[in-house]
Point group: C2
Chain length 149, copies 2
DNA sequence: TCTCCTTAGTCAAGACACTTGACCATATAG
DNA sequence: CTATATGGTCAAGTGTCTTGACTAAGGAGA
């Protein structure tokens, strides 16, 4: 692995990731959800199956409980999530997606597919699948968090 | 391109990019440069050849002149860059890397290579080159900017 | 050359998404 | 039943960006 190859990889990988995030963000906004940031999308990904507590969300997003709490408050205000009493723990509250939150999540999935589609056109289906497989091998398996750059 | 493939690609690409940035950051810090952020690295990339003005740097980084000016001030204080009078324009000042700035840039290049090396081990040289080539095709050709997530 | 508009850069104040610190309510272990 | 840990929020502080206002210098046209 030569140094100029490492540089080329760095540049291409970071530029691709930024293009993907920007593309999704734009496509989601175009579908009428213009008040959500990428961080909210990462939160939705954690809340989608069955909801989560603020603490769980904080761990998923790699931020403090306080920050996650503020994030949830913002999402409640905007109508994307609801706070419910936790069935097993009277201290905790279960944060779940609202109808609008689910709709936005589906829109984000479509936005991602839409953003990536031209890439498959350029590379071809075969190399596209190889790309996904290779990236999956080198990516850490942890939760998908907002960038810390 | 199915939706679950788009999701897998999104997850893998973002996780890989985050891992790369974190790895470089850590390796650069391990070499003694623990007071620089990724944003500074993007600035170094623009300043490396022959220096640049604050306005040029701002355009490269995708931020306002004021923010770029603050960034330069910080880098001057930390000893990574120097401000020189511009040879052609008395209004402008040419920002160039100092000796320490050049050393840090070289360290960052080594850090990138070091971070990526295990990836080549996992994928093999052949698929590694294919990965770089494919990412280069789908990445926008613009300047490398700090993430806007 | 004088005037007018543009551009390079900085100072100041504010926005925003986080952080740390403090605190109460509830759970859990000894 | 007391002691300690955990879930959540309020409040204040921090770092990195923004917008707004300004000065100094370049450049185009009469």
């Amino acid at each position: 692995m030569r140094q100029d190859e490492a540089q080329a990889l760095t540049a291409a990988l970071l530029a691709s990731a930024a293009a993907l995030v920007d593309g999704i963000q734009a496509a989601v906004a175009a579908r009428g959800y213009d008040d959500v940031r990428p961080t909210h999308g990462f939160a939705f990904a954690r809340l989608a199956p069955n909801g989560a507590t603020v603490s769980e969300l904080a761990a998923h997003l790699g931020m403090t409980k306080q920050a996650a709490s503020q994030l949830v408050e913002e999402l409640v205000t905007k109508g994307y999530v609801e706070r419910r009493p936790h069935p097993d723990d009277a201290r905790a509250r279960l944060v779940v997606l609202s109808r609008r939150g689910w709709a936005c999540t589906r829109a984000a999935d479509q936005a991602a597919a839409e953003t990536v589609r031209p890439w498959a056109k350029v590379l071809g289906e075969r190399r596209m699948r190889a790309l996904i497989a290779d990236l999956a091998k080198i990516a850490p398996h942890g939760p998908l968090r907002p960038a810390a750059w």
